[in-house]
Amino acid sequence: MKLLWLQGASCSGCSMNFMCAKRPNPMELQEQYGIEFVFHPSITHLSGKKVQELLFVYTKEPIDLLVVEGGVMTGPDNTGRYHHYAGKPFMEWVTELSRNARHIIAVGSCSSFGGIPVISPNNNDVKGLQFVMRKPGGFLGEHFKTLSGFPVINIPGCPAHWMNVITVLIDICLGRLTPKDLDEYNRPEYVFKDYLHQGCPKNEYFEYRQEATQIGEEGCMFENLGCHGPLVKCNANIHRWFDGWGSCTWAGFPCIGCVSPGFPEESFPLFKTAKLAGIPIKLPEGVKKSAYFQSKILADRACPDRLKIKKG
């Protein structure tokens, strides 16, 4: 399968993390699954006109896998002048290449939902491919489908975890992914099923409501430090990063919800939990406020001494 990778309004971080892939690494992806990179801005011999010619080919011929990293910049006034690439506004390449793509994969929160550059006032008019935050539509429109009948497949994350990207590429390659596997935000449901809370090393503190008030302190970060662990679907505490050595909460800082369609706008202010009458306004999905409150009172009471946070 031929893969073509474009970078829109991005920081290249998803590519950087993708390069950290261990097994299969990008080279093995070709050896093992026959996924061939026909173009990636950082892995190519071509430059200048030759890139334009190559991209032009795939505006006429089908491409199996079109990966887009970064949002589509449409400003100012829908001219796309804020992002020029390979001879014309970047957004025109997206329009032309998407018509001939069998699958389009939005790698990272920016191409999925707009991500960082859509922070208000979004004065550059950046769009995700089929969403702007939670709102369907985006650059290609709500009803857009690729040649094989899929919407854009979203693999959010800031950056997207290479494991999630690669597993979806493999599944497409083996013909195992169907449009039914996607959730309401067009994410493969089997990848974005669990909450970050699963596998968090601070879970025991959460259980007994031992809540940290400062970063670097032992304790759960949900009630005071704005941790989105129980609020967003992210497998980074299950698979973790770098051979299992890291994740946000493993390194002691709160999740800021970077995989969420509402990221980052819905996460502000970072490192602070919005509360009403001492209870976080956003509670774990499906949990009732009164039940949460009661369970936490009991939890606090049940807390063994060894877990109690030493204050001061």
Binding site: Q7, S10, C11, S12, G13, M16, N17, M19, C20, A21, N25, M27, P41, S42, I43, T44, H45, L46, S47, G48, K49, Q52, M73, P76, R81, Y82, H83, H84, Y85, A86, F90, P117, P121, N123, N124, V126, C158, P159, Q214, I215, G216, W241, F242, G244, W245, G246, S247, C248, A251, G252, F253, P254, I256, C258, P264, F268, P269, L270, F271, K272
Partner: protein, 493 residues
Amino acid sequence: MSNSKIIDIDPVTRVEGDLRFQARCDENGLVTEAHASGSMFRGFERFLIGKAPMDALGITPRICGMCSAAQSYVCSNALRDLFQVEMPANGYHIKNIVLGIENIQNHFTHFYLLFGPDLAHPRYEKKKLYQKINQRFRINGESYKRFITLRNDFMNMMGIFGGRWPHNLAMQPGGTSESLNDRLRVNYGYSHFLAFKKGIETFFLGCSIQEWLKIDTLAKLDDYLEKQQNRSDLSLFLRAGIAFGLDKLGKGPEKYISSGAYDLIDGSFLFKPGFYDGTFKDFSHQHITESVKYSFFEDDEIPGHHPFQGKTLPDNGGNKEKYSWVKAPRYQDQVVEVGPLARMIVLQDPLILDLFKQNGASVWLRVFARFQEAIRTLATLDEWILSIRINAPNINHWEEVTQGEGVGMGSAARGILGHWIQVEKGIISRYQVITPTAINASPKDYNHLPGPMEMATIGTQIQDDNDPLELLHIIRSYDPCLVCSCHVGKING
């Protein structure tokens, strides 16, 4: 540029971000004028206005996926300055380790993935060392592949000390967030470090780092090259680079600034700050001014101003003189280069300085200085890891302020990085960032002086208009990262 004989590289690939490069040549094929155009604009500083100061810590690393830790480092420094909080010793060590991992990784990645493959260009086929070069340095060549494996193991350290990469929040104003009272993690981190160091010594240097750092003159370098017989990647590059003429290409402004790299607890730096223009002088960020004469922004009343006074609006596209989303930072109105070469010269690294004094700057020396910095950083990383005190604090508590300002300076892989924050009524009223590539890949300024990278191409003989390899060597030798530079446009200051 409207003349007929124009080379237009759009896009330049194997750089980070979107760069277009145009060069005008005379009838002899010599470059007479060059335009580096950053071709994307995001306006990061705009979305920081109105946010809580700590929000900057989550947003600014996302300016750049390559130097994300450097952005964190500098942002946390700016916030530390704003909140006036001291860091414990572990905080310094761990921040420097995380930044060090990123920079070292960036330096080698630049060579193996971005710069090196050009040496395997068919144009050099007839040259003596081509066989070896092609076998090792081409895309998916032996060394290319080996480096990726080595790098990806090394990056496990980033998991241990930073949690993830890019974009971690481990670096905080008062120190770092990990609970490293887990001895296992530190020990395994060290082990990953040692494995990487061994790999670099075996394949890259062909000798131990200690032995390498004893080479401090051109004469000793010649001995090393003689002994290596092109076995190590470094020796092969150094010899082939000269054989291919890279030592006579891309001189640049030969004036350098560094804001200092890796803060140490006593207030000094591992690589000291300074300004070199033929003699060594002190550096102050007060001397940095920015010009927008050739950038896609509305002209200022003041032609060049310090970033703190910046008031800039994207223009309407009508002015055909303008060609880049990158502004033109200058130091005391002079065109200066930043990056590892600048840092090694300002540091007066004996070997790099000797080579510079004998033969001047070039693509070859710029790449070599990047290696030299990476190796010196590797040597020190060792000490930092061993200096971490288990069970001692990594972080101090701070009180947020509702009014004030802070400056953070630091060194990303590609050169100096500065963040300036101003806070009023508890929210950010102004945030300014200057990135290294904004300096190196800048367009002309209000004095019509070309930016460092543009300057480095002027006078270059282009062999083949349709395949301007010389230009690509020069551009890539700067390791440009347009992702940073153009994303950091300012609106309404």
